[in-house]
């Protein structure tokens, strides 16, 4: 490495610097003023830039800041857009929900703060049409409803829906398909609600905020809020749910939230987008995790890239520092000089990175924005500037400074003995603070310690294992040296001789390759798993209220129309009354959901075969002989919520009778699969005696819709739930999230490439020098080329295989621990890792040495 700096040239340059700044050296104390050091640093920056040494470091930093900034800005906009999208399912950005009329002061304040408002009120009541009655979920809305999303209506049940931007006119109501079916009405018919008659204006096809109560048993009637008094149905003490919908700018919403929090009275509560439907919440959660992960990997890669580039930068300054020390520079001056130079670089590259990141984000959201939002994406906030700059400074100062600080240890004697350099320090002492700072940054960026910790543990473990494995492999190569041809022998001998240097390079290459593997194969696997959780043929229709006597007929009816293997599940309503003989009630639980679960009846079912999407997490599924026995399988979420463990004995009250069952298994259920699922399942022969209705779900192609109208005519008492519209929404959100994630990953990919480039560049000077010496000694170019190829390809292969191993372990952890997907083993990753590593690194190494090989060795030797 010693021979790689042009001695004379750098000596001359440094002497000039020292001579010019001699005025800044105050005689006597030997200290140099900050201004003088600043001027020196500025000149050093210019000179290093000219000689190209700083450009690699600057590029690493620029891409680091740019990628974090681009990820930040874009993520920010995507998240804003997605929250708006999610707002559709709430019908608003924010909702005040209450069981009593909401204080008018809240709506007034919201209006004053520039928010849009709308009110809704819902209750259950009986609707009459002729002599048919039906218990109905009535919802009355004010003008402007819904504030987010839109209502869809059609002219006849299951007809083509169209979007409208109005609400029912006074005196008119919109009924959903189920209610029309039950009442035997068409649009234009008349219904009675309370003291008033209404005309049916439209069929209500889609209501954005209906999603929340998909399984409510009662059908829907939508009416104008102004008509409520004339029905006489809402009296003091009536069970009515009041909602004040709010929408507007994020700042105004935040302002309102803060203002309202102290003014809400008992029974009033704020609901945000995050409290919306479970499917959407899990989609948003996953999206944020994906995006954060991409950002985190960028930060780590940036650190690695800067660390490698800075080591090279420092090594190339050993000579000039020795000269500076020789002509009287103190250690403190050396430190100040390089810290200042680094800070100047950080400011320049940081600013350039921010700008690049902003532009990259802007240009690409122009292309991809329409995927996420039909309208212009919201403007990015300035917030992402902070993490981007923090990432830049932490990585540059944390990973870049340590090798530069060690420059002060360069002995002046190096002027005479060029082999003298700083003593090799412990790696931990060198990068410990940087790693700690990066960890803090990760936790901040992830906003979630678990994810940050997983990523950090993953990276730390990977580095540790990679180092060990790399060291072992490098040593093992030594044994192979005698077995291969001359070029390979030189190449592999080089790797083995460099020992720890090669191991460091393998680790760096391994990290870069791991990032690439994670971002290509693993990302695709994770996203595919996610998409697969809601396939195109996911059930889009539910049949409920099927009587036991109708089960066979319904199955036959569906089979005749091409819907085979539709399974119906029995449903018995029951309430949990005791666990292990101890009575339980709402007062035993803190959690409101748990309180609700024990206060009300929920659906119990029986089956002998485990449903496809269920997995046994503890205990065992039924065994022969369990039929008719008091055993039960409990959904794991419910078990957690209510404190039920395997082996507990549960007591249910079903239709006034007690039933005891021992918990023999805990199951996980994919609630977002749109399949009928149950909290508690019994084997057959236990619940048969209790009154049951049956439920099923199936996929009906969109062109087969009339089948449902026919079904309703055949089985008037069965209720059909069409969830196609809701699923389309969920799927659309999912697709958009995936687009966003894939886009964001492009930047991480770029960061990974920078690391690879830096790792290959790191030893380029050394290799150029060696090539020149080898050629001077008579090696033909083919031999040099082959030995370079051998060395890089072997490094790449080692790094690639280690990267594949690391990526597999890491993605297994991510899939099972963070994203809750079943992990799919991918054998391609090994082939791709090893192959891409060998070819990519080999070719890149060769390309890097191309210029050195192209010029006569004399020139190469003298320029180095």
């Amino acid at each position: 490495m010693g021979g790689c700096v042009n001695h004379q040239r750098s000596h001359r340059a440094e002497r000039e610097v020292m001579a010019k700044t001699a005025a800044g050296v105050s005689a006597g104390t030997g200290s140099v003023s900050w201004r003088a050091v600043g001027r020196m640093a500025l000149r050093a920056l210019g000179r290093d830039w000219q000689s190209g040494e700083l450009r690699v470091l600057a590029a690493a930093l620029l891409i680091a800041v740019a990628s974090v900034a681009a990820v930040g800005f874009f993520t920010d906009r995507i998240q804003q857009a997605m929250e708006r999208k999610a707002s559709e399912l709430l019908g608003a950005d924010l909702v005040v929900a209450a069981s009593n009329p909401i204080q008018p002061a809240l709506a007034d304040a919201a209006l004053q703060q520039g928010l849009q408002t709308a009110g809704t009120l819902s209750f259950r009541s009986v609707v009459l049409a002729g002599d048919v009655t039906q218990l109905t979920e009535v919802k009355a809305v004010s003008a402007g409803y819904p504030l987010r999303g839109a209502l869809q209506v059609s002219d006849q049940p299951f007809g083509p829906p169209r979007t409208v931007d109005t609400i029912p006119s006074p005196g008119q109501v919109w009924l959903d398909e189920r209610l029309l079916q039950v009442l035997g009405l068409q649009a234009g018919g008349m219904v009675n609600l309370g003291a008033r008659a209404f005309r049916v204006e439209h069929v209500l096809a889609y209501e954005p905020d209906r999603a929340g109560d998909l399984f409510s048993i009662a059908p829907r009637l939508l009416m104008n809020l102004a008509d409520i008094p004339s029905t006489g149905l809402v009296q003091a003490g009536s069970r009515v749910a009041y909602r004040l919908l709010l929408a507007g700018e994020p700042a105004a919403l935040e302002g309102f939230k803060t203002w309202a929090r102290t003014r809400l009275v008992a029974g009033e509560k704020l609901e945000g987008v995050r409290d919306a439907r479970v499917e959407l919440r899990s989609a948003l959660d996953r999206a944020q995790r994906f995006l954060n992960l991409a950002a985190l990997v960028s930060v780590i890669l940036a650190g690695v890239g800067v660390a490698i580039a800075a080591r090279r930068f420092a090594a190339r300054h050993w000579d000039s520092v020795a000269i500076l020390r020789c002509v009287g520079a103190t250690e403190a001056l050396i430190v100040r000089l390089f810290v200042l130079e680094l800070l100047m670089l950080a400011m320049l590259a940081g600013a350039a990175g921010l700008l690049t990141g902003y532009l990259a984000q802007y240009g690409l959201s122009g292309v991809l924005g329409s995927l996420v939002s039909r309208t212009e994406l919201p403007a990015p906030s300035l917030w992402p500037v902070l993490p981007a700059l923090a990432a830049g400074f932490v990585t540059l100062l944390g990973f870049g400074l340590p090798p530069l600080l060690r420059l002060r240890e360069v002995p002046p004697l190096r002027v005479l003995r060029r082999d003298l350099g700083p003593v090799n320090p412990r790696l931990l002492a060198l990068y410990g603070p940087a790693v700690a700072a990066t960890l803090a940054l990760l936790i901040w960026q992830a906003g979630e310690w678990r994810l940050a910790l997983y990523v950090c543990a993953g990276v730390a473990g990977t580095v540790a294992v990679l180092s060990l494995a790399a060291w072992g492999l490098v040593k093992a190569l030594n044994l192979l040296r005698g077995q291969v041809g001359i070029a390979w022998r030189f190449g592999m001998a080089n790797i083995a001789r460099r020992g720890s240097g090669s191991a460091v390079q393998v680790v760096a290459l391994g990290l870069g390759l791991m990032a690439l593997l994670m971002l290509t194969l693993v990302r695709t696997d994770l996203l595919t798993s996610w998409r697969a959780s809601l396939p195109a043929d996911a059930p889009n229709h539910f049949l409920i209220n099927v009587q036991t006597s109708e089960v066979t007929q319904v199955q036959t009816f569906l089979r005749e129309r091409g819907l085979h293997d539709v399974e119906l599940f029995p449903m018995v309503r029951g309430r949990l009354t005791a666990i292990n003989g101890r009575n339980v009630g709402p007062e035993d639980y803190q959690n409101p959901r748990a309180q609700r679960l024990v206060a009300r009846e929920f659906n119990l079912s029986w089956t002998d075969t485990l449903q496809e999407d269920n997995r046994i997490l503890a205990g065992r599924w039924w065994q022969t002989g369990d039929q008719g026995q008091g055993v039960a399988s409990v959904e794991t979420g419910l078990a957690e919520e209510l404190g039920i463990v395997l082996g507990d004995t549960l007591r249910f009250q079903i239709a006034g009778q007690d039933l005891a069952a021992k918990v023999t298994s805990l199951r996980s259920v994919e609630w977002d699969s749109f399949r009928a699922n149950f909290f508690v399942v019994f084997p057959s022969g236990v619940l048969d005696a209790y009154p049951a209705t049956w439920i099923t779900s199936f996929h009906l192609p969109i062109d087969r819709k009339p089948v449902m109208a026919e079904l309703v005519r055949h089985f008037p008492s069965i209720t059909v739930l069409d969830v196609e519209a809701l699923m389309t929404k969920v799927r659309e959100i999912m697709d958009r999230v995936i687009s966003a994630v894939e886009y964001v990953f492009l930047f991480t990919l770029a960061a990974g490439l920078v690391v690879l480039y830096a790792a290959i560049q790191a030893t380029q000077d050394e290799r150029r020098f060696e090539s020149a010496v080898l050629r001077t000694l008579g090696a033909q170019r083919a031999v040099v080329r082959q030995s370079l190829l051998a060395e890089f390809a072997t490094l790449g292969l080692l790094a690639g295989v280690l990267a594949a191993a690391a990526a597999t372990v890491l993605s297994y952890g991510l899939a099972t621990q963070v994203f809750d997907f079943p992990y799919r083993w991918n054998s391609w990753i090994w082939l791709l890792g090893g192959g891409a590593g060998m070819l990519g690194v080999g070719l890149a190494g060769l390309l890097g040495a191309r210029s050195a090989l192209a010029q006569p060795p004399w020139r190469a030797l003298r320029e180095l």
């Binding site: 001359i486 001789r497 000694l777 008579g778």
Partner: protein
């Protein structure tokens, strides 16, 4: 004889015909005619060497002297085929370098030429022994290790064979470089300021070693230096002044 050995080893490059001597002066190991080198500098084209012509007989030791920037090192690079001239011709060991491509020149170097540099140019990743083995391996000699050990013994470093350059003093490094230069019995040895990085005492010892080995091997020595005292060791001096050759002066060898 070494050429034969190499062809048997199957170098794969047919250089044998051009290696046949077409040297106008049959006795010369190096023959230079109207050699010139021009480079492009920020201030415009710069003539580094112009109209150089001389010949060096087999077994002769010649010092190339001149001030800094007079073109000494450039000339050395051209003589060794490490760089290409703008015009003129160089015959090295009877071969016209212009008629060889880069790889042909490399092969010629591997077989006929040894180097000693001012800054040693040892490969830091290789031990002393491995550095000396390098040219032998490149010339595909079977007993590279044995030959290298013998050479290290001759420069008095057999005990340091497994040391890396960073573990050796400057003088020791240059001795390794000299052992490497003589590996494979070169016909011509090029030395570029071999004592430039060494103190006077060590420099003396290195020079003595260099000339002793050179005499023993019967090789031709071309030594670039600005040190008149060192130049005086040689049979002859070629003085460069601003890219042109001054009258070359023959002088009796003063002995080592």
């Amino acid at each position: 004889m070494r050429v034969d050995h190499n062809l048997e080893a199957g170098s794969g490059i047919s250089v044998a015909p051009v290696f046949a001597s077409d040297n106008p002066v049959a006795s010369a190991i190096i023959q230079v005619e109207d050699l010139g080198k021009q480079v492009v500098s920020p201030e415009g084209p710069l003539i580094v060497l112009d109209a150089i012509g001389f010949s060096i007989a087999k077994g002769e030791s010649v010092a190339v002297v001149g001030a800094s920037g007079s073109g000494k090192s450039t000339l050395l690079g051209l003589l060794a085929g490490l760089d290409t001239p703008t015009h003129g011709r160089v015959w090295l060991a009877g071969v016209d370098l212009n008629r060889l491509d880069e790889d042909g020149r490399a092969l010629l170097r591997a077989q006929r030429v040894g180097f000693v540099f001012q800054s040693f140019q040892l490969l830091t990743g290789l031990t002393a022994l491995e550095n000396v083995m390098l040219p032998l391996e490149l010339a595909r000699q079977a007993d590279a290790r044995q030959q290298a050990l013998e050479l290290l013994e001759r420069v008095g470093l057999q005990a340091r064979a497994r040391h890396y350059p960073s573990q050796l003093s400057g003088g020791e490094q240059q001795r390794v470089a000299i052992a490497r230069a003589f590996a494979g019995n070169p016909d011509v040895l090029f030395a570029d300021e071999p004592t430039g990085n060494l103190d006077q005492k060590t420099g003396h010892r290195i020079i003595e070693l260099l000339f002793t080995l050179n005499r023993e091997q019967g090789a031709t020595l071309v030594l670039v230096t600005h040190d008149q005292e060192l130049a005086a060791y040689c049979d002859r001096m070629l003085e460069l002044d601003d890219g042109r050759l001054r009258e070359s002066s023959a002088q009796p060898s003063s002995g080592a």
